[in-house]
Amino acid sequence: MLSAYTDFIRIRFLTMLAYRVNYYSGILIYMLNIGVYYFTWQAIYGGRGEIGGFTASQMTTYIAVSWMARAFYFNNLDREIANDIRDGSIAIQFIRPYNYLFVKMMQGFGEGLFRFSLFMIPGMLLALLLFPVRLPSDPIAWIGFLVMLFFSFLINSQLNILTGLMAFFVENNEGIMRMKRVIVDLFSGLVIPISLFPVWLGTIMQWLPFQAITYLPGSVFTGRTQGTGILDVFGIQVAWFVGLLIPIFLMWRAARKRLFVQGG
């Protein structure tokens, strides 16, 4: 049975590999994004030392690593699940002796492996050439970042699963999916680091899972969080990962009762 789950990872990885050319343009788009934010922040800093606890050089590194992290953790599990529900093929998933959501997670991970090795790593190398990104010298920061990056993927996928499952409860969850994407990009600190948010909003963000996706791993990579602080922020991620399992479980259970297979 376990080998079936690893097969889902392998097959998704190979399928992605077959479409790898699509991702070359993705790398360029991400470079463009990094470039836009890099030059914007350069203009804002204009020789000033520190904004929101970030030096100009930390900000550059933060932007680059945040976008490249997104290149890894991003996936369309929400859309895939919503489509399965809407066209009724979810029925097929119920006649198999496995857990559908777990399979989805495995497929997401297969995609993640592809994105990590053929999108994030080459993208990061390119970003190193183009922008003055400073890599951490402390091996602890590297290890901490990579472990946290994996949890970024887990938490982001959990949010995607929750969004996708909404399709059971509303006729069309397209709007919810788009809103989720914007919210994750904004509130995870990808567009603006959370320390630059107004105080009240920053406080709210501390109680939401989004910061665990980008902001916390980014702060470890840029060296703003060090030593035992890494364990603290990692603890926040683990807490969210465990915490998010509860709504997923409840929603899945409610969905089973509501299930209405579209198209007979």
């Binding site: 049975m1 080998s3 097959i11 097929i92 006649i95 002796p97 857990n99 297979v261």
Partner: protein
């Protein structure tokens, strides 16, 4: 031993009511109204192990909903359910290891990968030992003639090829109960026949219980000894196909073509003492309906020998299952059948 037992099973769906106009749409935003629709309404039946049972009914009669409850996909609103010793929706993961399901309108193979890879993945999902898998796959591949298809991606298969692969996918783990939801939909006659033959053999050799929904009554005639007929979520007939035919068959229809005009009254007088009914479109063409208990030859003997009637053609047709079923659908009830002219009367 019963393979499937169903008692007072019901499933109601809540369907959102959309109010008219802009005002209605705005009101819908804040307070939704729902209609309760009973897709399956208090049905009971049981199917012994090793039987092939046909499950028929019009579109929207509740066939697929029943199948989806029996396979653990849908949770019933009320009623008791036991399939192969399990309550499907309660122990879904354990239960589905024992059943095979084919949905004619949905693929269960993975679109992007090769057929054989799909099978290999299913082997792992169902935890079939390598040795058993090889044996079973060889048997199925040979029986369904899949040899060269195995390495193609699923998206490049024709419907007939795909459906044969779907069957293999559903049967790799050697299930004892198989559900087929319109397995022959859209297939050509050759593939249909092949699939019927295959199912029949499987039932005979492995004692597999099969529940089959279809709109093609030839599937039923070729495979099923028993049919359950559904209408608006209720069972309107449950019994042998033969009984259905003999009780609701309208007997035999004999069509005459005449060389010279032969008026209807003339024909009626010839057979005045027989319980037959004549109809005619014109003087050159007449039809007589001979009830089941009467011999066709008795009627023919009266007409054929007459010197004033020049017959150019005689056609004898049995009422087909299609016609019977069409009749039952139209009247919406098979409970009160009466032989003779009306064929069926409905008390509804």
């Amino acid at each position: 031993m019963k393979a499937i037992e169903v008692e007072h099973l019901s499933k109601t769906f809540k369907v959102q009511k959309n109010r008219d106009g802009l005002k209605g749409a705005l009101r819908d935003l804040f307070s939704r109204q729902y209609n309760e629709v009973a897709a399956v309404n208090d049905i009971s039946f049981s199917i012994p192990a090793g039987e092939i049972c046909g499950y028929i009914g019009e579109n929207g009669a509740g066939k697929s909903t029943t199948i989806k409850m029996l396979t653990g996909i849908l949770v019933p609103t009320s009623g008791k359910l036991n399939v192969g010793g399990y309550v499907p929706h309660e122990e879904r993961e354990k239960f589905v290891r024992n059943i095979g399901v084919v949905f004619g309108q949905r693929s269960q193979l993975w679109w992007d990968i090769g057929v054989i890879e799909s099978f290999g993945l299913l082997r792992k999902v169902y935890g079939v030992p390598e040795h058993d898998y090889k044996k079973r796959l060889d048997e199925l591949v040979q029986r369904l003639d899949l040899g060269e298809l195995l390495n193609r991606p699923v998206r490049k298969l024709s419907l007939g090829q795909r459906m044969r692969c779907e069957l293999v996918a559903a049967l790799l783990h050697n299930p004892s109960i198989v559900f087929l939801d319109e397995p022959t939909i859209g297939l050509d006659i050759i593939v249909k026949t092949e699939i019927r033959e295959f199912l029949k053999d499987m039932n005979r050799d492995h004692g597999t219980t099969i529940l089959l929904t279809t709109h093609d009554l030839q599937d039923i005639e070729a495979l099923c000894s028993r049919v359950i007929m559904l209408d608006e979520g209720r069972i309107i007939y449950d019994g042998g196909l033969d009984t259905l035919k003999s009780r609701w068959g309208q007997g035999t229809r004999v069509t005459f073509q005449f060389g010279t005009a032969c008026p209807l009254p003339r024909l009626q007088t010839l057979t005045s003492d027989l319980p037959v009914s004549w109809t005619a479109e014109n003087d050159l063409h007449a039809e007589v309906l001979v009830p089941g208990e009467l011999n066709v030859s008795d009627v023919l003997a009266r007409v054929v020998g007459q010197t004033d009637i020049a017959i150019t053609d005689i056609k004898i047709t049995e009422t087909t299952t299609d016609e019977i079923v069409r009749q039952i659908y139209r009247t919406g009830s098979a409970v009160n059948g009466s032989k003779g002219e009306g064929g069926l009367t409905s008390y509804a």
